[in-house]
Amino acid sequence: MKHHRVLRIVSKLLIPFIMLFALYVQFHGDFGPGGGFQAGVILASAFILYGLIFGLENARKVAPPAVVTRLVAAGVLIYAATGYAGLLKGGNFLDYGVLGATPVAGQHLGILIIEFGVGTTVAASMITIFFLFAGRER
């Protein structure tokens, strides 16, 4: 759809804001509605829009499938690592309270890291699903 000038320019304008909004939803999730699931999908939608307008080939250059697949795993590992960190600091698995100086600070830090892991996995999975379906020839 590269030759549609309106689509191309509007999506070029939109994509940065979609990404910015994704980051807002991601990192503001501990004060307002938001979090990794939603942010991940919004971020992925930026890549999917790019892929739809500028073609799958260009999208694959921006987000190489090999890297994206690894990010799916990396997100889960971030999540799990936070859980283990709680264990090592003397709490239960996924106990964020022990991560910071005070329990409240710990909860803050913990949920941010956890949601970052969730967001990474969700965004990467969504992009992978898009690549796999769009990549089927016919």
């Binding site: 795993a73 859980g83 239960n92 106990d95 964020y96 022990v98």
Partner: protein
């Protein structure tokens, strides 16, 4: 060391969970296998330690994230689910050894690491269902294990694997959604998701209609997942067209875990008073169970594909387990738990043996197998052992199951069930004999080259599983001690 022990309930699930993305990152088949195996081996050791602790020191409660139950998610381990954990982890570990040689031949090249990723994910799900003390958490783990098993079945390489996986996906999702509706209705009425808390609050809501509806939804949903006749339609194709390692793993564990959840919900959460006193659960379970015993065995007799035959035999065996649950006495619960364990052993052994045959001749059709018994004597020995155990011949694990089942039936006034159990075992004799006859007494297919015994790395796990059928037929201390305790705990109902 002590801290490690204290966190075992969490590690039991989380270690296989971490292994899954690591398998994905490993990228190579060999490395992924090692990671998966280490995780499964750890899970087995952890399950054994948990089983020991629960047996000698009573139930364990673990608060995820430090949030005390009933507000947080609780992992509650007692002898009942420690027993299931042990079965799932041990079977996963043994079958994984088998997979190392069999899988490269059965799935598309370059995808082995994805297979191990899905396999560990499925293991995570099954362990999670068994260990959690939170009703909603059961749903989440149920879907983790189901989604990964759909993918595992679709990897079967044959065209029919895809339709089998799709059929399972539709039926499995409906089952899980029914369960979700049930849990939602319970949450609406009680305001809690913790199992212990639920069981304390349900007695005062005995007559409320949402609770009745919740019970119906949960029972039907779990019956779908457990492939109880007539909701078993997804099972034969799924097991027949999955890779042989997956068939062995799933036949031994997936439906069993659903049956465990059914036990937990029926006896601990709702209580037998509610399910069998106020509601006619006896007949709701008994009729399908008896039909399953006969319809499953009859269908098995007429199959030409042996993996399909074994799958139909599983339907019949699930009938026995459900029958034991329907008896609604502690002996029945114990018989159900013992048969869950023993049936896992026999089906894993038989499906592994079929995997060995598939490895050599590339087929599991009975007409292709003629005369193979003499060329693959050890595989044949495993099939005979598994078959005898399936029949319930003395000195095998199957006999112990039947013994406890008959004992439990005799304690009720449903003595005629014993006749039905004996009759349906006769049907099992027909299909097992058909297999043995083809393997040993028929002349080999003309024109087929003689084959060698399966490779040792596949044969050893198969023989280990077959040997376990004999071992647990002779030395019944472990299953009997654990299930005795488990049946009492489950049966105590509210308050535990």
């Amino acid at each position: 060391m002590n801290t490690l022990l204290a966190h075992l309930p969490a590690l039991q699930v989380v270690v296989p969970m971490v292994a899954a993305p690591l398998c994905l990152l490993a990228g190579r088949a060999g490395l992924a296998w090692i990671i998966a195996f280490l995780a499964a081996a750890f899970a087995t050791v952890a399950a054994a330690l948990l089983a020991y602790q629960t047996l000698h020191h009573g139930p364990i409660s673990y608060a995820m994230g430090g949030w005390a139950p009933p507000w947080g998610i609780e992992y509650a381990v007692d002898t009942a689910n420690a027993f299931i954990l042990l079965l799932v982890a041990a079977i996963a570990c043994v079958v994984l050894v088998f997979c190392r040689t069999s899988i490269p031949k059965e799935i598309r090249a370059g995808r082995e690491h994805l297979f191990y990723c899905m396999y560990t994910l499925c293991l995570t799900g099954l362990l999670g269902i068994a260990i959690t003390g939170d009703a909603f958490n059961v749903f989440v783990f149920l879907e983790i294990s189901s989604l990964s098993s759909y993918a595992l079945i679709a990897m079967g390489g044959r065209r029919k694997s895809l339709t089998a996986a799709f059929q399972y996906l539709i039926m499995g999702t409906i089952g899980a959604t029914f369960f979700l509706i049930g849990v939602g209705l319970l949450y609406m009425m009680t305001g809690t998701l913790n199992m212990a808390d639920l069981s304390a609050r349900i007695p005062e809501l005995q007559d409320s209609r949402p609770v009745l509806a919740a019970f119906a939804f949960i029972t039907v949903g779990l019956a779908l997942k457990a492939a109880l006749f007539p909701l078993h339609l997804w099972l034969p194709n799924a097991y027949a067209y999955a890779p042989s390692g997956v068939s062995a793993f799933m036949a031994a564990t997936a439906t069993k875990v659903s049956l465990y959840v059914l036990l937990r919900f029926t006896f601990t959460i709702f209580g037998s008073e509610f399910a069998f006193g106020n509601l006619p659960l006896l007949w709701v379970l008994l009729v399908p169970a008896v039909l399953a015993m006969f319809a499953g065995s009859f269908s098995a007799i007429f199959q030409t594909d042996i993996k399909r035959m074994l799958a139909y035999s599983s339907v019949a065996q699930i009938g026995y387990i459900t029958l034991a649950i329907a008896l609604a006495n502690p002996a029945g619960v114990q018989a159900a738990m013992i048969h869950i364990f023993n049936h896992g052993l026999m089906k894993a052994a038989l499906f592994c043996a079929m995997g060995c045959i598939f490895y050599r001749i590339g087929s599991t059709r009975i007409d292709q197998m003629a005369g193979l018994g003499r060329q693959m004597p050890w595989t044949f020995a495993a099939i005979v052992t598994g078959g005898l155990s399936l029949l319930g011949v003395p000195l095998t694990a199957g006999y112990i199951s039947k013994w406890y089942l008959v004992q439990a039936a005799l304690q009720t006034d449903l003595w005629w069930l014993v006749i039905l159990i004996a009759l349906s075992s006769m049907l099992a004799l027909v299909y097992v004999w058909r297999l043995v006859e083809a393997l040993y007494f028929q002349e080999p297919v003309p024109g087929r080259e003689a084959v060698r015994e399966a490779p040792l790395s596949m044969l050893l796990p198969t023989l280990l599983l077959a040997g376990a059928n004999i071992y647990f037929g002779l030395d019944t201390r472990l299953p009997v001690a654990m299930t005795e305790n488990a049946a009492l705990l489950l049966f105590q109902g509210p308050g535990g």
